[in-house]
Structure formats: structure tokens, C-alpha cells
């Protein structure tokens, strides 16, 4: 990440940290003050979370001050720069990875583990290896390879964890 982008990211992270820290401290303050039960006020469950929330907010403020000094609140975010970011090959690959992994975890527990694992491995490989412009033969070979690897992965992981190591599977 370039220094300019980093300063920009720091500004928004700092805002999130300040809001997070203040909210955490307020919620901690609302936790029971155990004096009513005859306990020492210093053992209150909200004491440490309050201090941590306040510290996070304070560190966020330092980050905010520093990023304002660097950016002078000129972020230079426009449609063109955002479009450039989304068109980058790396962003596309990152997006596909996150999407496929998220879909897999959301499907866990709804279908048998070996089946969704097979579908996930297959989809992951095909999402990165399939090339529409490639000759038909190559595409078929890629699909066959993905299916074989997915079947093996699903069978080996299920077998090893469930029957050898006696571990529960989702």
C-alpha cells in the first residue's frame, strides 16, 4: 500500500477505533458495580474493559491526528480511482477467494460435509484455472482434474479425521 493510501486507510481505521473504544467503555460502565453485593468496587467486571475501551479510543485519536496531518483531509477518492482498484487482477482474485470461502462456511451444517467439501474444492480450482479462451480439450482436462482432486480431498479428509483421529466434522 502506498503512503498516501495508508494515510487514507489510517483515517478511516482511526474513526472506527474511536467509535469502537467509546462504545466498549460505555458498555463496560453499564456493567454491574458490585458494591451492592458487598464486594470491593475494584473487582467490578467492567473495570478492565472500561480501561481497554478508553485506551483503544485514545490510540485511535493519536492515529486520527497523525493521518489528518498527513492527508490534510484530502483523500482523493473518486469514481476513477475506485474503478481502477476494482479492475485490478489482485482485487478480483482476492474477491473470488473470499466469496468462495464464505459460501463454503455458510453451507456447513446444511449439507453433508463430504459433499460441500467436494463442491468447494472443485469450485475453488475452477474459479482460478478455467480459461474460457482455452481450447475445449484443455478445459475438459482442467475440469476432470478439479473433480478428481476434489473427490480425493473430500474422501481423505473425511476418512482421516472422522475414522482415524475420531474428530467430529461439521
Amino acid at each position: 500500500m502506498t503512503e498516501k493510501n495508508m494515510a487514507r486507510a489510517d483515517f478511516f481505521t482511526a474513526l472506527v477505533l474511536i467509535i469502537f473504544g467509546v462504545t466498549a467503555a460505555v458498555l463496560a460502565f453499564q456493567m454491574p458495580h458490585v458494591t451492592a453485593r458487598g464486594q470491593s468496587p475494584y473487582s467490578a467486571p467492567g473495570l478492565v474493559p472500561f480501561l481497554l475501551g478508553a485506551t483503544i479510543a485514545l490510540l485511535g485519536l493519536v492515529l486520527l491526528y497523525r493521518s489528518i496531518k498527513r492527508t490534510h483531509l484530502h483523500f482523493g477518492i473518486n469514481r476513477e480511482s475506485a474503478g481502477r482498484f476494482f479492475r485490478e487482477e489482485g482485487t478480483r482474485r482476492m474477491g473470488v477467494t473470499i466469496l468462495v470461502c464464505l459460501l463454503y462456511t455458510l453451507a456447513l451444517g446444511k449439507l453433508p460435509f463430504p459433499i460441500i467439501t467436494f463442491l468447494f474444492v472443485c469450485a475453488f480450482i475452477l474459479a482460478f484455472e478455467i480459461d474460457r479462451k482455452a481450447p475445449r480439450e484443455k478445459m475438459v482436462r482442467t475440469i476432470v482434474f478439479a473433480v478428481i482432486l476434489a473427490v480425493c480431498t473430500s474422501a481423505v479428509i473425511t476418512g482421516v479425521f472422522q475414522y482415524v483421529f475420531l474428530v467430529n466434522l461439521p
Binding site: 456493567m31 464486594q39 483503544i56 462456511t105 451444517g109 480450482i125 461439521p170
Partner: protein
């Protein structure tokens, strides 16, 4: 002293059976392969193996995890030498001289040097571990809540400082977020449930292993998948067995790097990557002028320093795990979690509750180091083929293992969600230069900080004086303040002014 040697001897004899040797060999080899593959770290390897060793006895499980740890930290040197990509963050310094050596056609020699350096580093660390763990353990017995509170603060501050050298503020923010994560769930004094918002899963707290698998596993998978391919250097792998002169010539560097690596390992949360860089930097500073010129262009001394330093850090990082229940590195944090799962309670009472365990761990480190040395010098050519596996075929398998690893410990889908959440959080934080080690250390130290601060305040009836008047507390407090102040702009300017001012004539 003699009792220690006797316990160590008994532990070694206890481990010398077919089952343990077989376990040590396969887990070290697996560790080397995991370490070799960019995107798979030692932390992830130890975390995933924790799931597999769930039903084993404590000694067998810890032996396998230590072998994985030692093997993975060493294994990363292969990809550092052949790909110019460190297999694990611990091998970043190895690329500086390892890759130029491979490009010069000396890949085999570089691998041999890295293997020997790693072996000697682990041995130095192991000796330090055997000598100092019981000593630190007996000192730690005298610690009270006040000292433990400062240790937790010190751990976060120094870990944030060293793992984010460019911007320690981000290291501290990551550490405090980790401490806050540990506040979620039922607290240990009044059993009050914090920040659960009525969710029963959250009231149990955030488990360490799913969070770590996410922060080091999924985050790494997304990072690796962003880039398409890497190329293996097509260098002929020549003689791997190192020359004796290469070792005897640089014995001072080996001893220095071993000691530095062990000390850095013992600092909470800092880890192998920093140990390797510091050892490398110290070797460069103290090298002879003709050798200094070779640094960065294929220096044997530089490669030895980096690899000795990172592997010496492994036993070093286990020292505070055993004596204070505070991990010296991220993989050591998982090791700590695994020990707790297997019913071993590390901490100041370990010498009382499990008196033989320290020496058993020393024996495990010895076994894993020997296995790493033997395996490291054999199967070199065939293992290089592992590096050619396309990442899009390997990463989905790794993600499935991350899911199974997170789920298996408590059989809850909630933990898979925790893994994904920390994976995404870890990825975005890393993109913005926030280190992961302080975050993980924070999750572990959160409970220690919380209980000990409140306990101390109750003991002193709210009086803050004991926090600053007890000798150990004062020392830790002053060091912590110095670390923070030393990273401020005015301190840097002040020291710069002193450095620039001319020395008075004698």
C-alpha cells in the same frame, strides 16, 4: 543441577521407543513441508495438528507439536533459498543471502548451511532452556498479581514495538484489540458475562485456536491467492552436506546468533522473524570488512546467522510458556493452548505440579532437532517438487483443514465463524501494516491482565503505590515506559542530536 541432568536423562530414555521416534520423524517432515510452502506458517501447522493430536496422550501430542514447530521454522528456509519467498515470516532474513547463493549455483550448499545453522541454533536454545527454565520458574513462584499485571502490559508494549518496527502505534493498537477480545464472555471473578449481547456462544468467550487459525491461516490464504504464481530457481542442487570449515570459521556468529535468538524468543510474543533479523544485523555489524561486502550478495555468515537465530528462538519461546504461561511467539501461543487442552497447566506452579515436564519438553526439543537435521540433509531434491504445486490447488485443501481444525475442538460452527471473522480482520489489518502477533498475544494476556489488575486493586484497597514500589514492578514499569518513550519523535530527535554532536578532544 544433577537432579536436572538425571530428569533429562530419564526423559530422553522415555522417548527412545519406536512410537515416539516415528511420531517425531513424520511430524518434523510434515513441518518441513508446511514451512516450505509459502502461505503455510508454523503457527498454522501447529494449530492444525493440535486438532489431530486431540485424542493422544499429553506427551505424545506435545512432542508432535514441537516437532511441527521446529520443522516448519527450518522448512521455510527452502523456499527462501529457492524461490526468494520466505516459507514462513521467520525466514525473511534467509532470503537476503540464501537466494543469491542459489542464483550462483550454490543452492545445495546454502540448504546445507541453513540446515546446520538451524540445528545448532535449536541446540543452543535447548541448552538455555534446560538451564534457565527451572531458574525462571523458581523466581516466578514469588510473583504476585502486581507483577503479573505489569508482565501483561509489558508483553503487549514490547511485542507491538518489535513486530511493527515502522509504526509501533499499530502494533500497540493490535495488542489492545487482542486484550479486548479476551474480555468477551464470562469473566473469572464474579462470573459476569461481558459483551455477549444475549448470545450463548459468545458468552463462552472467543477461543484462541479458531482465532489464530483465522488470523494466520485464512488471512494468509487470501494474501497468497492475490498473486498468481511464483517461479522456482532452476538451480542444480549440489552437495548438501556442509563443509566443516564453513561451521568452524563462523563459530562466533553461530554462538552469538544462538544466544540472541534464544533471548528474543523469551520476550513475550516477539517471535522468530525478529530473532532472525536481529541475529543477521548483529552478524553484519561484527563481520570482517571483506565478509561484510558479501552480505546481501550471498554471504555464508549472513545465512548462518539468520537460520541459527530463528531456530534458537523456538526453545527460547517455550521458556516463558512453561514458566509464566506467556508465549514467546505465535506458534508457542498455540502450543500453550494445546498444553492446556491436554491437562498440563504451564505457569509458575509447573515445577510443583508437573516437576518432570520441563525436562520432558527439553527432551522433545532435542528429538525434534535431531529429526530436523537428519531429514533436512536428506530427501532434498525430491522435496523441492512440492514447491511446484500450483497455489489454487493447494489453498482450498488448506482452507478445509482450517475449517475442520476450528470446528473439531468444541464441535461448534460458531468457532468456524470466529475463524472466518479473524481471517478477514487479520487480512485487512495486515494490509494496513498491523502485525498479528500482538493481537494473538493480547487474546492470551487479556485474562491475566484482567484478573491480576482487579485482584491487586482489591488487595491494596485501590492504592496504586504497590504497582510502582515493588522492585520487580518498578523495573518492568520503567522498561515499559522507556520502550514507549524511545519510539516518540522527540526522543529520536534528542538521541540524534547527541549522536551528531562532536566528541570533545581527549
Amino acid at each position: 543441577m544433577f537432579e536436572g541432568i538425571e530428569l533429562f536423562g530419564k526423559a530422553i530414555i522415555g522417548f527412545l521407543n519406536f512410537r515416539n521416534i516415528f511420531d517425531a520423524l513424520w511430524s518434523t517432515q510434515l513441518g518441513i513441508i508446511i514451512g516450505m510452502l509459502p502461505g503455510l506458517t508454523a503457527t498454522m501447522g501447529v494449530a492444525l495438528l493440535t486438532t489431530l493430536t486431540f485424542n493422544m496422550s499429553a506427551n505424545n501430542a506435545i512432542l508432535i507439536l514441537i516437532c511441527m514447530y521446529v520443522g516448519a521454522i527450518y522448512g521455510g528456509s527452502r523456499s527462501a533459498i529457492l524461490l526468494n519467498i520466505p516459507g514462513t515470516p521467520a525466514n525473511a532474513a534467509t532470503t537476503v543471502d540464501g537466494f543469491p547463493l542459489a542464483k550462483q549455483g550454490l543452492a545445495g550448499r546454502a540448504i546445507g548451511i541453513a540446515t546446520t545453522g538451524s540445528f545448532l541454533g535449536s541446540m543452543i536454545g535447548m541448552v538455555a532452556m534446560a538451564l534457565f527454565t527451572p531458574l525462571i520458574g523458581s523466581v516466578a513462584l514469588k510473583f504476585q498479581s502486581f507483577e503479573f499485571f505489569w508482565f501483561a502490559v509489558f508483553g503487549i508494549v514490547i511485542c507491538g514495538n518489535l513486530t511493527a518496527p515502522k509504526d509501533p502505534l499499530k502494533g500497540w493498537i493490535a495488542g489492545f484489540i487482542g486484550l479486548f477480545v479476551a474480555m468477551i464472555g464470562m469473566e473469572g471473578i464474579h462470573a459476569h458475562v461481558r459483551y455477549s449481547f444475549g448470545n450463548t456462544d459468545l458468552s463462552g468467550g472467543i477461543a484462541l485456536i479458531p482465532a489464530m487459525v483465522g488470523a494466520f491461516g485464512l488471512a494468509e490464504i487470501i494474501t497468497v491467492m492475490r498473486f498468481s504464481t511464483y517461479e522456482v530457481v532452476k538451480a542444480k542442487i549440489d552437495r548438501v552436506i556442509p563443509r566443516l570449515t564453513d561451521i568452524t570459521r563462523y563459530w562466533k556468529t553461530i554462538v552469538r546468533s544462538g544466544i540472541v535468538g534464544t533471548i528474543i524468543g523469551a520476550i513475550p510474543g516477539v517471535g522468530e522473524d525478529i530473532a532472525a533479523w536481529v541475529s543477521y544485523d548483529m552478524a553484519k555489524r561484527s563481520a570482517k570488512p571483506e565478509e561484510k561486502e558479501k552480505f546481501g550478495k550471498g554471504s555464508i555468515e549472513g545465512l548462518l546467522a539468520a537460520e541459527t537465530g530463528n531456530n534458537a528462538c523456538v526453545p527460547g519461546a517455550i521458556i516463558p510458556v512453561l514458566t509464566l504461561a506467556i508465549p514467546g511467539s505465535a506458534p508457542a501461543a498455540v502450543l500453550l493452548g494445546a498444553m492446556l487442552i491436554h491437562g498440563v497447566r504451564p505457569g509458575p506452579l509447573i515445577m510443583v505440579e508437573f516437576p518432570t515436564f520441563i525436562y520432558e519438553v527439553v527432551a522433545m526439543v532435542l528429538l525434534s532437532t535431531v529429526a530436523m537435521f537428519v531429514l533436512g540433509l536428506s530427501l532434498v531434491r525430491s522435496l523441492v517438487k512440492v514447491l511446484t504445486i500450483p497455489r489454487q490447488r493447494l489453498m482450498p485443501i488448506i482452507f478445509v483443514l482450517c475449517v475442520v481444525g476450528s470446528f473439531a475442538i468444541q464441535a461448534r460452527l460458531f468457532d468456524v465463524g470466529v475463524m472466518v471473522f479473524f481471517g478477514l480482520l487479520g487480512f485487512f489489518l495486515r494490509e494496513m501494516d498491523y502485525p498479528m502477533a500482538p493481537l494473538v498475544l493480547g487474546i492470551i494476556l487479556g485474562d491475566i491482565l484482567d484478573k491480576n489488575l482487579r485482584r491487586s486493586l482489591v488487595l491494596s484497597n485501590g492504592d496504586l503505590t504497590p504497582f510502582f514500589t515493588r522492585p520487580i514492578c518498578l523495573a518492568i514499569f520503567l522498561v515499559t515506559v522507556f520502550i514507549i518513550v524511545s519510539r516518540t519523535r522527540w526522543f529520536t530527535a534528542l538521541t540524534g542530536k547527541f549522536r551528531r554532536s562532536p566528541r570533545p578532544a581527549a
